[in-house]
Symmetry: C3
Subunit: 139 residues, 3 copies
């Protein structure tokens, strides 16, 4: 049994979903393991991870619009606004999704379904560089 780890940097330019499936797959492809468990961990409280539909582009727009509606920017709603009106909604949208995903590795391939892509969900309006830790254990 072996382990491998990596730190991934992802640049974001605006609120929304950024696909990272290829970057994750490329790193996994050069590891020696055939079978194992990959864990993806987002080191932030205002950006999160999501596995979602990777074919129809409209799904991503609808997802972004939906999270803007259920956790809206609203200066009257929150006590915390240290970094602006998009600060607290970013924490809420992170809480409603997740900062960690684990995906089995089977026959050297991630066990993603046909339509599943891995996304970083940026919840802040301004550009950020996000840090994602990858951990793979297997043989």
């Amino acid at each position: 049994m072996q382990q491998a780890t990596e730190i991934l940097k992802v640049k974001t330019t605006r609120q929304g979903l950024v696909e990272i499936t290829d970057q994750v797959r490329e790193w996994v492809a050069v590891q020696p393991m055939q079978r194992g468990l990959l864990t993806i961990f987002c080191q932030h409280t205002s950006a999160s991870l999501l596995i979602q539909e990777n074919a129809a582009k409209a799904v991503r727009g609808d997802l972004e619009a939906y999270f803007s509606r259920i956790a809206p920017e609203d200066p009257t709603a929150y006590a915390h606004d240290d970094e602006g009106p998009d600060d607290m909604p970013a924490h809420l949208r992170t809480a409603l999704t997740q900062v960690q995903l684990s995906i089995p590795l089977l026959d050297r391939k991630l066990a993603l379904g046909t339509w599943q892509g891995i996304y970083l969900f940026e919840h802040r309006r301004h550009p950020h560089t996000r840090t994602i830790a990858l951990h793979l254990i297997g043989d």
Copy 2:
């Protein structure tokens, strides 16, 4: 340290929660590991996983009704409706819950609490066969 993997097929007939605790436990029971980590991964973007109350049946009805309310079918709300009015709400309900769960294995038993059951949450109206990958690592 050893690994074991399995593909589980779960048939669904309607929207709602389908308990899979027994199927998962039966597979774990025939693996040689005493202690480890089980990961359950749902390979879909319109069905998800949930650990919830397995005793009071009313909880499941309330959960289903709640997710229908916060991510409703509404032809005016979404750009994406390729597969009908239950298509986009299915993606949203998946995003609000999760497609992956990991549960420690202690003394040959999953570390589920007394009232915790594992559920597949079907978000589409029509019958589907859902694919779930299981991964167990331990010794």
Copy 3:
């Protein structure tokens, strides 16, 4: 490769977020592994786990208020109220967050971001003792 497991008991006195980062870190610090994967599993359906902002206290108040709004106590809304009006909202708030988190261990340190703390999210009004299973695999 080695494994270690522990059962953590956390006393809660009211609804809200209880930070458990230190308790988790202290246990991890006395394990022999340098690198691995830590899994935290909450054995309840009316309390959950959340990784969130650990600096600004107002974030926690806003998070608690938000979950009280999107999954409110409302005697007319739910069929299930066996244990009072905070019973069913507790299940919903658990479903919207998560009962399991996995965090990579790198160079003997959990790969938490600078502002990330680990919280138990108590969703019931009365005091409870909550059980959390810890599992660490690594070398």
